[in-house]
């Protein structure tokens, strides 16, 4: 029983291969009869005995007829497509080169830089505004200056004083 089933499966598989090959052949068959005639005799016999395989011939042609309504994308690809791809590659490479330069970081962080600057300005201006008012410091007057150790109590001698004192000494 198992052998019979296995044998049937093999025959079905061979039939499917033959059908696929015949369907892909140069001149497409229009009717199930034509397609069956293009198959080897053993496959024709199998189609007559196996209901599923017999129906597969008609199904293949019907499915093909249905799908004929769809456009084939492989046939419609534009002739300039390769050029467009190469141009896109060149643009991407240029972008990657730009990203590699140190200045590329500036626009990336521009928004954050603006935020940080605004925050700094706000903090500094708040601090300046709220700082307690200190009166302007007056320059110290001559009387108020503390006496230095080196300061003499005697007023500084003028040249005339020196001359007078020398004359007094000579007397």
């Amino acid at each position: 029983m198992w052998d019979l089933l296995k044998k049937n499966r093999q025959a079905c598989s061979q039939f499917q291969d033959a059908l696929e090959a015949a369907a892909s052949a140069g001149s497409p068959a229009a009717t199930p009869g034509e397609l069956l005639a293009a198959l080897p005799v053993a496959c024709q016999k199998h189609a007559a005995s196996c209901e599923e395989c017999g129906a597969a011939v008609g199904e293949l042609l019907s499915a093909r007829a249905l799908l004929r309504a769809l456009p084939a994308h492989s046939k419609t690809s534009a002739p300039w497509f390769a050029r467009r791809v190469m141009a896109a590659i060149a643009a991407k490479e240029a972008e990657l080169r730009r990203m590699g330069s140190p200045w590329a970081a500036v626009p990336r962080f521009a928004s954050r830089l603006a935020l940080v600057s605004a925050a700094t300005l706000l903090i500094v201006s708040t601090w300046v505004y709220q700082r307690p008012f200190a009166p302007p410091v007056k320059p110290p007057s001559a009387e108020a200056l503390p006496e230095s150790l080196f300061d003499s109590s005697q007023p500084a001698l003028s040249q005339d004083d020196i001359l007078v004192s020398l004359a007094e000494r000579a007397q």
Binding site: L67, A69, L70, M86
Partner: protein, 216 residues
């Protein structure tokens, strides 16, 4: 640095899955490896060549998930940008295309998550191109096949596709609309080829049943 010779962009997948197709795929893989090595050594022309070679596939996968051309284009550009800036970390253990598909699928799911919409095109959600088509067809009169009928049919199918699991829907679109091979779909959805085949069969059965049920 020697310039890598320009290669023809990959066209749509070969119809058969035979030996010549597989040999061609191996050759393409080898060219890709060469171009990736050159691009990893800062050869921009090599990367541009890689973009040219894979843009159709990436657009197809993105379009399969997002279902809007504008979104698919935007995602495709993002995918190549991402690939360019992580190319030095790509160790070439997997094929370049596989790596690119993974980025595409992840970017698409991210976009859908961000937009929080299901990948469905509604009447009010016509792309710029579709709007131009509608206007142009209105100007031309009834000589051209009716664009509004075509758009209505497209929307009907989009609605039917909504009834499928997201992965099954992507597989079905990649196979039947974009013309991917089973192995390529397996790379995109990260499943093995046999599982993809079985799931495709089931998805076809389901969409046909839904269409019958809705009378389309």
């Amino acid at each position: 640095m020697p310039r890598v010779p320009k290669l023809e962009p990959i066209g749509l997948p070969p119809s058969g899955e035979g030996v010549p197709a597989r040999a061609g795929k191996l050759q393409e893989g080898a060219h890709d490896r060469e171009l990736v090595r050159a691009a990893q050594a800062d050869d921009k022309e090599a990367f541009e060549e890689l973009v040219r070679r894979h843009q159709h596939r990436v657009m197809a996968v993105a379009g399969g998930i997002l279902r809007r051309r504008e979104d698919a284009e935007e995602i495709a550009q993002q995918v190549f940008l991402k690939a360019y800036f992580s190319l030095k970390r790509f160790d070439q253990r997997a094929a370049f295309s596989t790596w690119l598909y993974k980025i595409t699928v992840n970017e698409c799911w991210d976009m859908l998550r961000k937009k929080k919409v299901r990948p469905l095109v509604y009447e009010s959600d016509l792309s710029e191109e579709q709007a131009h088509q509608v206007l142009a067809s209105e100007e031309k009169g009834s000589m051209e096949p009716d664009i509004s009928e075509r758009l209505a049919a497209q929307q009907r199918v989009e609605r039917l596709l909504e009834g499928l699991d997201e992965r099954d829907r992507l597989m079905l679109i990649l196979k039947e609309v974009e013309g991917f091979a089973i192995e390529e779909i397996a790379e995109v959805v990260d499943l093995n080829a046999n599982t993809v085949k079985v799931r495709l069969f089931r998805a076809r059965r389901r969409i046909v049943a839904l269409a019958k049920k809705r009378g389309d």
